[in-house]
């Protein structure tokens, strides 16, 4: 199926879901106001579905909206988004009957910042970016530049274990097999692991001195759905509300612990951070720890018990005296 055909099929399916009143809302992607950006499209109007797009720039994880919308929702989901949805179902935050998962097999999302860096230009100066198989062709100042796709995908896409949703109601195109490249995806984390404890702590201290506590990371995360976050508690006040690095770090450490077994490595937190703190180097580490210690992968098996509500009689004993 060509991309255009896939897009048309998506629009047709979305329209019929609305017309048949199987859903109250359609949540998907539309072109954004900036070049090479998409924006979430949330609509009850069947005429809007013609704005739905499928392209390599739909990085947002729309699962976030499921905890905010009332009623039945038809949602466009890449592999990672579908894992977040499954995780929300496991947490009893979303009821499976109320969602129609419209699965989109995904070849990875393009990280514009990586392209900008390689091209040495801001994205609004670039004429076109197209994906052709394993290459991305960037049109710029009348010339074309080919870049291997692996150099411009998001780090989390390089490690993707589920490009095609496993849990879905409709699948728009042929499934795409997973080809995770852990090594490439893990480069930043591996470097950190080579440092001493002291150096690592200094690294994070330095990174979180920039944090302005805007909470974009938390607000964009589908797994961060608490009505009241611990950072807002007043009695006791766990951390100061002004962004001191010490408290910024505690906020982020606890956030990641809360996300154990629910973070699906969708990469949204890192993408949202306005001061470019490498947040995925935290969330992916927790994701891996959960796998290593408990063999658990968030959002993979809809029948699995949530990680922290479950236990095995014998596990992780070596931490205890």
């Amino acid at each position: 199926m060509t991309n255009r055909e896939a897009e048309q099929r998506l629009r047709d399916e979305a329209k019929s879901l609305l017309e048949s009143a199987k859903v109250d809302y359609i949540v998907g992607f539309a072109d954004g106001s900036l070049k090479f950006h998409t924006t979430p499209l949330i609509t009850r109007n069947k005429d809007d579905v013609d704005h739905l797009v499928i392209n390599p720039f739909m990085a947002s994880n729309l699962a976030k909206f499921l905890t905010e919308l009332e009623g039945r929702v038809g949602i466009v989901a890449k592999g990672c988004d579908s894992r977040s949805i499954v995780s929300l179902v496991q947490d009893n935050k979303v009821s499976r009957e109320k969602v129609v998962i419209v699965g989109i097999p995904c070849r990875g999302m393009i990280n514009l910042s990586k392209i900008e860096q390689l091209a040495g230009k801001e994205s609004d100066e670039i004429d076109d970016i197209t994906r052709q198989g394993d290459k991305v062709v960037v049109k710029l100042d009348g010339s074309e530049k080919e870049i291997p796709v692996k150099e411009v995908l998001f780090d989390h896409c390089l490690a993707c274990e589920l490009p095609t949703p496993k849990e879905y109601d409709l699948l728009i195109d042929e499934p795409i097999p997973a080809t995770p490249d852990e090594e490439a995806s893990q480069a930043k984390i591996n470097k950190l692991e080579e440092l001493s404890h002291h150096e690592r702590w200094r690294f994070w201290q330095n990174e979180f001195s920039r944090c302005i506590r805007c909470y974009a990371c938390r607000n964009v995360c589908p797994a961060c759905y608490c009505q009241r976050c611990f950072v807002e508690e007043a009695e006791p006040q766990w951390i100061l509300s002004i962004p001191k690095w010490q408290d910024n770090l505690i906020f982020q450490i606890i956030r990641n612990i809360h996300l154990a077994g629910r973070c699906t490595d969708c990469g949204e937190c890192e993408r949202a951070c306005p001061v470019n703190i490498p947040l995925r180097s935290l969330s992916k580490e927790m994701y891996d720890l959960v796998g290593e210690l408990f063999g658990f992968k968030s959002g993979m098996e809809i029948d699995a018990a949530p990680l922290l509500t479950h236990y095995e009689l014998e596990e992780a004993e070596d931490f205890f005296r």
Partner: protein, 142 residues
Amino acid sequence: MAQDSEWEPKLVGFLCRWCSYAGADLAGTSRKKYPANIGIIKVPCSGRVDPLFILKALRLGFDGVLVSGCHPGECHYQTGNYRARRKIALTKKFLEYMGIDPRRLQASWISASEGGKFTEVTTQVTKELKEAGPNELFADDK
């Protein structure tokens, strides 16, 4: 790390009231000598220990934290310690990745009758914290 021989680590122990807390009590009533470095906070179950307590203690400048509960299979609430085990294991590993010396977070299973074990564990943990040196994790750079 510069430290004089006088320096003594400060440690917080979150002890389950049904077992480890009673174990500490037993150590006291049977006049066993355990290090005075530990300040004890009684919790209803090891499962009550929120990783936030651990971070808060370190943020306040304590050199280490000990979480102690009933042996597996003996939790008063059946499963609290199993759940604690998952949380603590993840917390310990994650804190280490952040750059926190793993000796600063310790955990044990101590029953109400194990006054001796309580003495051993606190002695050992205190020794390790002494080796680890003062906690300057959250200190502002001078």
